[in-house]
């Protein structure tokens, strides 16, 4: 492009940009701003609330509803189990989202959603009803019941908070020479490497603090679900003689007082029993009728995360069923695609036709080393699904101290990009 045509082009581009700004400012001044209600302030919900305001400014009002005043991150919560981290290190309230981005926060449990003309509504347990042009549901997961399982005695610690503390206390009180038994649910569950990471960290803790103890891992899956190289090495070398791994184990029932689990491979008794039940979408998603028959997850369009069953309602994070892994990092990624699509919809436009998301996960393997797992996902127009880009998918060659340090840098940015 020569100088003249370049200048002409820029002038035109500037003029049309100014026009667009003026007309939308006019529209925003004359009309009330569009409104979005976000249910659940975890990795998905907090991110979508922040980015709707970061990108949408005053053209959109955002109300975030969570049962709790602060979210306790599951990410890094396995480090609480070996005493190297405190829950306070991974607890995030919604003050920054309010102060920096103007997100309104309402504490309450959402019980149902409804349609009122062309608006949507959510009803809270206290009877309050909130109205919005669009609703985003980001409630995380719900667990299947297991006969005999009482999570107040046998913690899953798969939602961080009091459950994490309970499991940490049980492990700390375990006698030397005791047995820690954990069960892994069938995939898909949240954080594919998470249970194996936990097994490693507990084994590492017991090795140093409770000599002679054993870790028994009962996996519902036919083999290690994530980072098979890393965890096979950890299980058979790093923790040889201490940790035993059994695939293909399905649970029949649990005795919560005796701390034992009955399975298709026999009875396993434990000093500390950690049962992670099978997952499904958060209850509110099921109650709203957003899960197709035979599925556990909300059916959504991956261009916008809008429900295919209820227009104007979006589902992001662990509850959605696009087949992308259930992780906090990718929940944040999905939230941005959703925020962008909602803002475009308010401006009368179609979503970005080629969204990308990515996942990056660091797993501590010992108290000082970590591995990582990463993947990039691209929208495939032919199948209408998000597909992993083959060369982008991989795990660390070996757990290292450098990775362990990178893990905290990664987490600090992920936490800040989500909650601050």
């Amino acid at each position: 492009m020569n100088m003249i045509s370049r200048r002409r082009f820029l002038t035109l581009a500037g003029a049309s940009a100014a026009l667009a700004v003026n007309s939308t400012i006019l529209r925003a001044q004359s009309a009330t701003p569009a409104s979005v209600i976000v249910v659940g302030g975890g990795f998905a919900g907090a991110t979508v609330a922040k980015y709707l305001r970061l990108w949408g400014g005053n053209s959109v009002t955002v109300t975030l509803v969570d049962t709790n005043l602060a979210h306790v991150s599951c990410i890094l919560s396995n480090l609480v189990l070996n005493g190297s981290y405190k829950l306070a290190n991974i607890t995030f309230d919604y003050t920054a989202l309010g102060q920096k981005y103007g997100v309104k926060f309402v504490q309450g449990r959402v019980e149902g959603i409804g349609v009122a003309g062309n608006r949507r509504s959510v009803t809270l347990a206290n009877g309050q009803t909130l109205y919005g042009d669009r609703i985003v549901l980001a409630p995380g997961i719900d667990f299947d019941p297991i006969p005999g399982l009482d999570p107040n005695k046998i913690p899953h610690a798969w939602v961080a908070g009091p459950q994490t503390t309970l499991l940490q206390q049980q492990i700390a009180a375990m006698p030397a020479g005791g047995t820690f038994v954990m069960t892994i649910p069938p995939a898909p569950y949240r954080c594919p490497p998470g249970p194996y990471e936990r097994a490693c960290l507990v084994a590492d803790y017991l090795k140093r603090n409770k000599p002679g103890s054993k870790v028994v891992v009962l996996d519902a899956n036919p083999s290690i679900v994530a980072e098979p190289h890393t965890f096979t090495t950890a299980f058979t070398q790093t923790y040889a003689g201490l940790l035993s791994y059994r695939p293909g184990v399905s649970i029949v029932s649990v005795d919560s007082n005796a701390r034992s689990v009955q399975t298709n491979q026999g009875l396993f008794a434990a000093n500390v029993l950690n049962v992670i039940p099978p997952h499904r979408a958060g209850r509110i998603v099921a109650n709203a009728g957003l899960i197709p028959p035979g599925s556990r997850w909300a059916s959504v369009n991956p261009l916008s995360y809008e429900s295919t069953l209820m227009p104007g309602v979006h589902v992001i994070g662990d509850s959605q069923g696009t087949g992308q892994p259930k992780s906090g990092h990718i929940a944040n990624a999905e939230a941005k695609v959703c925020a962008d699509a909602i803002l475009r919809a308010f401006a009368g436009e179609q979503p970005d036709p080629a969204p990308m998301t990515n996942s990056a996960c660091y797993s501590p393997i010992t108290a000082t080393t970590a591995s990582w797992l990463t993947a990039v996902f691209a929208y495939d127009a032919g199948s209408g699904t998000m597909k992993v880009v083959p060369d982008s998918f991989g795990e660390a060659a070996t757990p290292t101290k450098d990775n362990f340090e990178d893990m905290f840098d990664w987490a600090r940015n992920l936490f800040a990009d989500t909650f601050a």
């Binding site: 370049r6 200048r7 820029l10 002038t11 581009a13 500037g14 940009a17 100014a18 667009a20 700004v21 007309s23 939308t24 400012i25 529209r27 925003a28 569009a34 305001r53 970061l54 990108w55 400014g57 005053n58 053209s59 959109v60 920096k100 981005y101 103007g102 990092h329 941005k336 695609v337 962008d340 803002l343 475009r344 401006a347 436009e349 970005d352 990308m356 998301t357 990515n358 990056a360 990582w372 990463t374 993947a375 990039v376 691209a378 880009v389 060369d391 982008s392 991989g394 660390a396 060659a397 340090e405 990178d406 840098d409 990664w410 987490a411 600090r412 940015n413 992920l414 800040a416 990009d417």
Partner: protein, 108 residues
């Protein structure tokens, strides 16, 4: 501030770097900041990572996930943010486009 009918090119793509590199490239940890880097710098580095086979590096994996035009859009987006450093308010996304268009006009 209103919703721009057409969001800045590359904004959504670039936001997918923020989980590790910070919102708008303003990293809070030891990971590189992207804000303040030039478009060319970022683009050349991304291409190098895309086309070398150092698979035991998380960014080399990430760079292989995007095609060249996507990497260019991402680089351009961060390059444009560095022109308007200091505006990290809630509406930086739109302000930066507004200002970039203006600035370019004046420069020419």
């Amino acid at each position: 501030m209103a919703v721009l009918a057409q969001p800045p090119a590359g904004r959504l793509l670039a936001s997918q770097c923020a989980q590790c590199h910070g919102t708008n490239g303003q990293s809070v940890g030891g990971i590189d900041k992207l804000a303040g880097e030039s478009t060319q710098e970022i683009y050349q580095e991304l291409l190098e990572m895309k086309y070398t086979n150092k698979t035991n590096d998380i960014m080399h994996r990430q760079a292989k996930g995007y095609n060249e035009s996507q990497l260019w859009l991402i680089s351009q987006y961060y390059g444009s943010l560095s022109n308007v450093r200091g505006s990290t308010s809630t509406s930086q996304g739109q302000e930066s486009t507004g200002k970039t268009a203006d600035d370019d006009d004046k420069k020419d």
